[in-house]
C-alpha cells in the first residue's frame, strides 16, 4: 500500500475556451461581420417605402416582417448594425481619448492642475450622464452626430478616474524610479513609461463600455435627440415603430432584441476579458 497520491488539476491555462466563452465571442464576431458586410449585401429597398406591403407579419418573404413603410425589418436591422456599432465604437474611442488626456495631464502636470482636473472629474461623476448628454445633444440640434459628441463629452470621467488611479500605482514600480534616476523628464516619464504600462485597464474595459454605449445611444435616439428617421439606427427604428406595438409587434420587438443582444454580447465579452486578465474574479 502506498500513501494516497494527492493530485490537483491545475487551473486551466492557455487559451482553452469554455463553450460559453466561445459562443459569446462567436456572437460578437457575428455582429461585427454583419456590421461590416451587411450594408453591402442589403437590398437597396431598405430606405424606400412600399405602402402596399406595410406591416406584413414575419414570413418567408420577410423574415422579420415589414414596418409601417413596407420596409423589410430584417434588412433594416442589418443595415442599422453598422450605424449602431460604428457610433458606439466612436463614442467609446472618443471618451477614452479624453479620459487618457485628462489622466496624463493630471499625472504629469503640477499638483494644482491634477487636483483641479480630479475635482472636475468628480463633478462629472456626480451628475446623471444620460440627462446631461441629452441636454448637449438637444442643444446642438438633434442628430446622430450630436448624440455621439454629447456622449463623448459626458462619458470620460469614469475612464479618467480609473486611469489616474492605475497610473498612480504604476508610478510605484521600480522601472519608473530607474527612469527617474536617469533624468527622464516628468512629461516624458508619464507619456512614454507610466501611461503605456497603465493602459491595460482600458483594454479590459472597452467591451463592456461598448455594450452600455449601445444602450444609451438607442435611448437618446428613442427620446429624439439621436439618429433621426429614416435612419436605420436601432433606437430610432423603435421610436418610429412605437405606435405599432399592438398591431405589428415585430416592428418593435425585433430592433429592441437586436439592441439587447448586442449590449449583452459585448457586456459578457467584457466580463470574459476581465476574468481572463484576473482569474481570481472567477465566480464573482
Amino acid at each position: 500500500m502506498s500513501a494516497p497520491a494527492v493530485s490537483v488539476r491545475a487551473p486551466r491555462a492557455g487559451l482553452g475556451l469554455s463553450a460559453f466563452e466561445a459562443s459569446v465571442i462567436g456572437l460578437v464576431v457575428l455582429l461585427l461581420a454583419v456590421a461590416v458586410v451587411g450594408p453591402l449585401v442589403a437590398p437597396e429597398s431598405v430606405y424606400r417605402s412600399d405602402i402596399a406591403n406595410a406591416l406584413l407579419p414575419p414570413g418567408a418573404g420577410h423574415w422579420f416582417g415589414t414596418d409601417d413603410q413596407g420596409r423589410d425589418v430584417f434588412w433594416r436591422l442589418v443595415v442599422g448594425a453598422r450605424t449602431t456599432l460604428l457610433s458606439a465604437f466612436l463614442v467609446v474611442t472618443l471618451y477614452s481619448l479624453i479620459g487618457v488626456a485628462v489622466a496624463t495631464i493630471g499625472a504629469a502636470g503640477p499638483r494644482w492642475l491634477d487636483e483641479t482636473l480630479m475635482r472636475i472629474t468628480d463633478i462629472g461623476l456626480a451628475l446623471p450622464g444620460m440627462v446631461v448628454a441629452l441636454g448637449f445633444a438637444a442643444a446642438m440640434g438633434p442628430s446622430l452626430r450630436s448624440a455621439i459628441i454629447a456622449m463623448a463629452i459626458t462619458g470620460w470621467p469614469i475612464t479618467a478616474r480609473l486611469l489616474r488611479g492605475i497610473m498612480r500605482q504604476t508610478m510605484e514600480a521600480p522601472f519608473v524610479a530607474g527612469a527617474r534616476a536617469l533624468g527622464v523628464s516628468r512629461w516624458r516619464l508619464m507619456t512614454c513609461h507610466v501611461l503605456p504600462n497603465s493602459l491595460d485597464v482600458l483594454i479590459v474595459k472597452w467591451a463592456g463600455d461598448v455594450g452600455t454605449t449601445v444602450l444609451v445611444l438607442a435611448s437618446l435616439s428613442f427620446i429624439g435627440v439621436g439618429a433621426q428617421p429614416p435612419s436605420a439606427e436601432w433606437g430610432a427604428t423603435i421610436a418610429g415603430a412605437r405606435g405599432y406595438v399592438s398591431t405589428a409587434w415585430w416592428t418593435v420587438v425585433m430592433p429592441g432584441a437586436a439592441v439587447a443582444i448586442t449590449s449583452i454580447a459585448f457586456g459578457l465579452l467584457g466580463e470574459i476579458i476581465q476574468v481572463r486578465r484576473d482569474p481570481s474574479l472567477r465566480g464573482n
Binding site: D122, G141, R242
Partner: protein, 346 residues
C-alpha cells in the same frame, strides 16, 4: 460638544461639494445654451416673435453684454431658481417641473422599493449559495435585464401584460372617476390625503408596471453589487466567529453579514435614485404618465430647447440633493465612518 462640531464640519464639507457640483452643472448648461445654433434671443422669444419682442428678450437675457457677464448673470438667475422659460407653455420651467415632480418622485420611490425588495433578498441567497442553481439563474437574469433598453422593455411589457393578458392598466396614473383632488400632484398621495382608499389602490395599480420596468433595470446593479460585497464579507473572519457562537445561517446573514455589506449598496442606491429620475424620461411617456421625464420628452419633440436645458438643470439639482441626503444617511448609520471622520474615541 466636540462630536457635534465634527458632525457639523462633515456636513459643511459635504455641502460645499454639493455647491461645487451644482456650479459645474450650471456651467455645463450655460455651455449648452451657447452651443445652440442660431440666435439665442430669437429662440427664447419663440419662432413667431416680432423683432421688437426678440430685442426685448435680448436685453432681458443680457445677451448684449460680454460673455463673462452673461455667464455671471446666468449663474445668478439659476441660483435664484430661474431655470428658463418654456416657449410652448410660456411658463417658467421651474414652475412647470415643480408641478409634475411629485408624480415622478412617486414613480421613483415605488420603483426603488421594488428594486431593493427584489434585488436584496436575491443577492443574499445567491451569495450564500454561490454557484448554486438560484445563483446561476439570478446572474443570467441580471445579465439579460441589464442589457435591455428600458423603453423597449416598457413597450413590450405594456403590450403583453396590458393588452394581451390585460392584467395591469396600460397607461395613465389613475382610472377615470377614481381620482382625488390634486394637492401634491402625486396621485397616490392625493388619494391618501382625501381618504380615498380605492383611489389609492388604483393609483398604485397604475404605478405597478412603470415602476417595475424602472426597477428591473436598476435591480441588476443592486443584485451584483450586494452579491459581490456579501461574498467578500462572507469570506471575512468575523463571519466564522459568528458561526462559532452557534448562530444559524439566517441570523449570521441578517444580523452580521448583511449590515456589513450594505454600504456599497446604499451608495449605489443613492446614485440610482438620481439616475432613476433621469430614466423616467424613457418610461413615463410610454405609459402616458405625467412627470419631469415626460415633460422633457415632450420638450424635445416640440423643439422647446430651453425647456429641455431647464429640465437638465432641474434634474441635475435633484440628483445632487439626493446624493447629499444619502451621504448624510450613511454617516448616521455606520459607526466606522463616524469614527473615521472623527477619529476613534478611546
Amino acid at each position: 460638544m466636540p462630536a457635534l462640531k465634527v458632525y457639523a464640519w462633515f456636513l459643511l464639507k459635504r455641502l460645499g461639494l454639493t455647491v461645487l457640483t451644482l456650479w459645474g452643472l450650471a456651467t455645463l448648461v450655460f455651455l449648452m445654451i451657447k452651443l445652440m445654433p442660431g440666435d439665442e434671443a430669437q429662440m427664447a422669444a419663440g419662432a413667431d416673435a416680432s423683432a421688437a419682442q426678440v430685442e426685448a428678450m435680448r436685453i432681458r437675457l443680457g445677451l448684449d453684454a460680454p460673455l463673462v457677464a452673461q455667464y455671471l448673470r446666468f449663474l445668478l438667475r439659476v441660483a435664484q431658481g430661474d431655470f428658463g422659460t418654456s416657449i410652448v407653455t410660456l411658463q417658467p420651467v421651474m414652475s412647470d417641473l415643480g408641478k409634475v415632480l411629485p408624480s415622478t418622485l412617486e414613480l421613483v420611490v415605488v420603483a426603488m422599493l421594488i428594486n431593493l425588495s427584489v434585488a436584496i433578498p436575491a443577492g443574499i441567497v445567491a451569495a450564500y449559495r454561490q454557484g448554486g442553481a438560484f445563483d446561476s439563474l439570478c446572474r443570467a437574469a441580471a445579465v439579460t435585464l441589464g442589457g435591455m433598453p428600458a423603453f423597449w422593455l416598457a413597450l413590450v411589457l405594456q403590450f403583453l401584460l396590458g393588452r394581451v393578458w390585460r392584467v395591469v392598466p396600460i397607461s395613465g396614473q389613475v382610472s377615470f372617476g377614481m381620482g382625488s383632488p390634486v394637492v401634491t400632484g402625486a396621485p397616490s398621495l392625493d388619494a391618501l390625503l382625501a381618504f380615498n382608499g380605492a383611489g389609492f389602490l388604483n393609483a398604485l395599480w397604475h404605478l405597478a408596471l412603470p415602476a417595475a420596468v424602472l426597477a428591473a433595470l436598476f435591480s441588476t446593479q443592486v443584485f451584483r453589487t450586494l452579491r459581490a460585497s456579501l461574498l467578500g464579507v462572507l469570506r471575512s473572519d468575523f463571519v466564522m466567529a459568528v458561526r462559532a457562537k452557534g448562530a444559524s445561517a439566517r441570523r449570521m446573514l441578517t444580523d452580521h453579514a448583511l449590515p456589513n455589506s450594505l454600504n456599497p449598496v446604499l451608495t449605489l442606491a443613492g446614485t440610482q435614485a438620481g439616475a432613476m429620475i433621469g430614466s423616467a424620461v424613457l418610461v413615463e411617456t410610454v405609459f402616458a404618465r405625467k412627470g419631469i421625464g415626460a415633460y422633457m420628452f415632450n420638450a424635445v419633440a416640440q423643439k422647446d430647447t430651453f425647456a429641455v436645458l431647464g429640465s437638465v438643470m432641474f434634474i441635475g439639482t435633484v440628483v445632487c440633493l439626493v446624493n447629499l441626503a444619502v451621504d448624510v444617511m450613511q454617516l448616521v448609520l455606520d459607526p466606522r465612518i463616524r469614527s473615521a471622520q472623527f477619529g476613534s474615541q478611546h
